[in-house]
Symmetry: C2
Subunit: 206 residues, 2 copies
């Protein structure tokens, strides 16, 4: 069985960087946006659209709230697409995990691939540190105040939590569902990735 | 400033072993029961008694529940001792942390020494794995059923959580108060301690 490392991450916590560095250290593939690119190819749907449908508001089972989003009501075709795209994504995840050892970020991979006993990591950080990280990486957000930034971060996390809860029945970020939770507030991500890579290498060799 | 590593741990999760190994790897002192031995010397009180008073049920601020324990009502002298012993313990913790780099297990050290910016680790595990670990180490418990064992584990944790909450105002085991949370269910403790030691060494050197 391949070694699959899954990474859940709070928005702005550096989970993506951690995952990339970990994959580099272990010299194995890293899948994040690549997953959606793959599905875009398979379904012939635009990636932007896929992300909106898949990542955000799973709601088609609840008639009362069907398709309600912050921006209004989702169109019917979007709702019809949700389950189908989710299944396609899971097929893609399984193929990736069976192809080789890999690092997969987000997308409920910890749960979808649970039979492969993935090493499940959750990356998080204090709000101040997440705001700082978001500022550092996204020039487009320069106009936002700290309060607006915080609101946006919490909104993304709320969506991730809802999505995760909906498809897994588990609580996103609850430590009992992870093997390792890393707070990047005071921790150097490079050093952490290096150490975790070593730990995983040791465990595989045993 | 010395590097202080504090370890919170669920009962039966192997936190003590992890802390010891980490201290060995880093070649720095490890304080756990040693802290209470120190206080026993200072206060001339028996260590057993100290542990009962300090670790377990801080309650003297709440008149309604004063001294209530599972075994009945704590005597007055015990209640009078609580705050005093807690202060003595904190003095001892500070002295240890100022003397050299060190690993400290439990005793709210993460909070008491917060100005030293300790590296705060929480060690936890699934209930089944904790029951197995308790069985492996304590022959005295052989007579307990899994259900009784689980009850005992939960009771110890409840006391730790209550104690921690009372003296720190923080939630015991809540990941936001830790830099790293390690689930020992599927993780080799030796490999984890080795990796974390390396990570800490790298961060110190930077």
């Amino acid at each position: 069985v391949n070694t699959v490392i899954t990474i859940g991450r709070q928005f702005g916590s550096g989970g993506r960087e951690f995952g990339k560095r970990l994959a580099d250290e272990l010299q194995i593939p890293y899948y994040d946006r690549e997953i959606m690119e793959e599905i875009a190819k398979r379904t012939q749907l635009a990636e932007d659209y896929l992300n909106r449908v898949v990542e955000h508001r799973p709601s088609y089972h609840f008639p009362i709230t069907v398709g309600r989003t912050l921006h209004g009501v989702a169109p019917d075709y979007m709702i019809r697409h949700q389950a189908e795209i989710f299944a396609e994504k899971n097929r893609a995840l399984r193929e990736m995990a069976e192809r080789s050892d890999c690092v997969i970020v987000g997308r409920c991979a910890d749960y979808i691939l649970r039979e492969m006993k993935p090493i499940r990591i959750f990356v998080y950080a204090d709000m101040d540190s997440r705001i700082a990280r978001c500022r550092a990486r996204a020039e487009a957000d320069e106009g936002l105040s700290d309060r607006q930034m915080k609101k946006r971060i919490l909104e993304v996390d709320r969506n991730r939590a809802r999505y995760y809860r909906y498809y897994t029945g588990q609580i996103w970020g609850d430590r009992s569902y992870y093997d390792l939770c890393i707070n990047t507030t005071n921790t150097d991500i490079k050093a952490a990735a290096h150490a975790v890579a070593m730990m995983i290498r040791n465990q595989i060799e045993e």
